[in-house]
Symmetry: C2
Subunit: 404 residues, 2 copies
């Protein structure tokens, strides 16, 4: 169906984690989440993956064993029984689990693993001392291989085609949902797996947000600058049944997931013309994007990018409107992207580790005007050895409907 | 957008939980998951919901406070700070948290709450002794109100229309993905929120599975009898790019989520005719459905329904093929359904609590033939005072394409 990644791809991923485990005096790392397992094993079947600080990782599979054997690129065995998982690990990794006086420190993806499972694992593997390894895992995943970058680029091409399909169908009076249905149909027909994975607890995303006028500016629980009104309190983000009016800003913040990898892109559209106020704010978003690009290279910190954007928004007199409005502002300019849409680094205060070549970042300066709408732009970039390469391919402009 | 539920709807939900808390000597229950919060508060904004064993529940909101105030049907306040959440709870519920010698037992939804959050909550609310309340919460939600049943029925009508659209477009040689794109476009245009929520860790579903011939019979990690081949190892379930051939069984196991509530339905289709072997197995699935319906009433246990189905499969000589094949068989006949697609009760061994009026169940006898495909059927039912009412509305038959 698609090109198989080279064998050393998988080896390199584990090696990167093993270096971090060694630096942090962690004896091994247990990965329980489907996306994490796929990252290290090339298979997303149900089970647990164990990466020792040294030596060969193992994928312990519960279901489907047949399929995991076929897909997995690493050592793969059947999980004997959950209750005896501790014994199976001790047999496979005697050096780590041999000393009863010195329990090995085992890291795990505790940011996603349910507490119930954590408590059961602590019983099933009583020899271990558990530690949250979420930050290490997110750090490893933040730097992409060329295989991964190629996949993100393919997703970018799919989103661009879908945007064009949407713009071709955009008409005054259609609902946000109707416009999204056109775009999603294009995404799905091109191989979008139907969902975009998010790591954050309780965060959901389907294909993004299309929101027009004041519906775009409504505050949401969603950890982003423009969540959208949504279809009901039970789906309180994304598209609504509101009709798209003339001269309203339409924010089209969409992505897809192709062969596991996601892309994120925002473009503005309008039937008619934007008001001068919104047009100006849009131009400030473009200015922030250009200024971000100038800093986008190894050595710059994510925090610097965010702080620069805050300063530019302030200079433009738009601080209150930047990345949401008032109490509902989010405190970032962008985010890492890959197998999940909310990867590291976050372009936010506190992220002071310099950017590295291979990082993929969605940068999304946006301005919210309650009652009027949201304007902004979002591109996904690859950090290269000397600067950046843009992965999103849709031309940067305000898209006009043929109705305009 | 839709009829608001009556005020006593919310009161009744908390009262049901409070009765269970009292029976189990639990002082209160903290709900962290978005779906759980929506169930008790009518809002899905980010925060924590606390239901004391007696008295008024509170929704502590982090984001968006504005929106939660607008949507929530219960007492709603802003969460002061996560670190001081224990103090805020103690101020609001002094009777529960007043005695330093006797820490109150606080239940929580530990089956979904990430371990990292659980460990942080234990620090932020050090006065509490924590207990897994997942089973209580799932029990409360298993019995639906008439408001909820009406929503599930509306979702059933949407799925039926979408199936008809798919059948109208079904052609020999089209891919599973192409057929699914037609159906999903219909679902979305009718208001499907774009995803169906699942409670199980690492379980994902978009709108279900369409799988033809041997692709339907491939084993998957998915906790169901026919997961489908999927689009890649990074999306190893659901539709694939395989072309649909003549005389192959096409399983169309689809659902949607409307205003928060899901439906689940399976129908078979074919371009041409099924082989006699598969036709016979399909008829056994229908026989199991009719026999299940005869037992479907308050007092029957979920386990009985499963055991009866196993016996009927054995009588037909189809034990090895029932609900998956060989090692990849799943051990249930159906599942509760509501805000999530994998609700309680499960029609499986160990579920011995008798059915109650108001339970909604998807029953899905299916037979897997490696290399050939899957045949079966799935209806969603409401358990009534005296028996059942079917909620799914698509006629039960093998659907033929106009190509046939």
């Amino acid at each position: 169906m698609q090109k198989k990644p080279p064998q050393d791809e998988w080896l390199n991923r584990s090696l990167k984690l093993q270096r971090k485990l060694a630096e942090n005096d962690i004896a091994g790392c247990l990965v329980s989440q489907n996306v994490g397992i796929y990252y290290f094993a090339g298979s997303m079947q149900t089970g647990y993956l164990f990466v020792p600080v040294e030596g060969e990782p193992t994928f312990y599979v519960r279901r489907s064993v047949v399929r995991a054997f076929r897909e997995s690129a690493i050592r793969t065995v059947e999980l004997n029984s959950f209750r005896n998982f501790g014994k199976q690990l001790a047999t496979d990794y005697p050096a780590l689990f041999s000393s009863p006086d010195q329990p090995p420190i085992i890291g795990a993806d505790l940011d996603v693993m349910p507490a119930q499972l954590y408590l059961r694992l602590a019983e099933a593997i009583p020899q271990a001392k558990w530690k949250d390894a979420s930050a290490l895992l997110r750090g490893v995943r933040s730097v992409k291989s060329s295989y991964e970058i190629e996949r993100i680029s393919r997703a970018a091409a799919v989103v661009s085609t879908a945007l064009d399909a949407g713009i071709a169908g955009l008409k005054e009076g259609m609902t946000e949902l109707e416009l999204m249905a056109i775009i999603e149909n294009s995404l799905r027909s091109q191989g979008h797996i139907g969902l975009m994975r998010m790591r954050g607890y309780n965060q959901e995303i389907v294909t993004g947000v299309i929101a027009a006028g004041e519906a775009a500016a409504e505050p949401t629980y969603f950890d982003g600058p423009a969540g959208g009104r949504g279809l009901s309190p039970a789906a309180p983000q994304g598209v609504s049944l509101r009709s798209i009016g003339r001269n309203e800003p339409i924010i089209i913040d969409i992505g897809c997931c192709l062969d596991g990898y996601t892309i994120d892109q925002t473009r503005m559209a309008v039937v008619g013309e934007l008001s001068p106020e919104l047009q100006t704010a849009y131009e400030v978003a473009e200015l922030i994007m250009r200024s971000s690009e100038r800093l986008l290279r190894p050595g710059t910190t994510p925090e610097e990018l965010y702080v620069q954007a805050l300063e530019l928004a302030e200079e433009a007199g738009l601080s209150d409107h930047f990345m949401g409005y008032g109490a509902d502002q989010v405190k970032f300019l962008g985010h890492g992207i890959g197998l999940e849409i909310d990867e590291w680094p976050v372009l936010a205060r506190g992220f002071r580790e310099p950017l590295k070549p291979g990082m993929t970042l969605a940068i999304e300066p946006k301005f919210t005007f309650p009652g009027l709408g949201v304007v902004g732009i979002e591109n996904t970039y690859l950090v290269t050895e000397t600067g950046y390469r843009e992965l999103t391919v849709s031309p940067e402009k305000i898209y006009k409907s043929q109705d305009s």
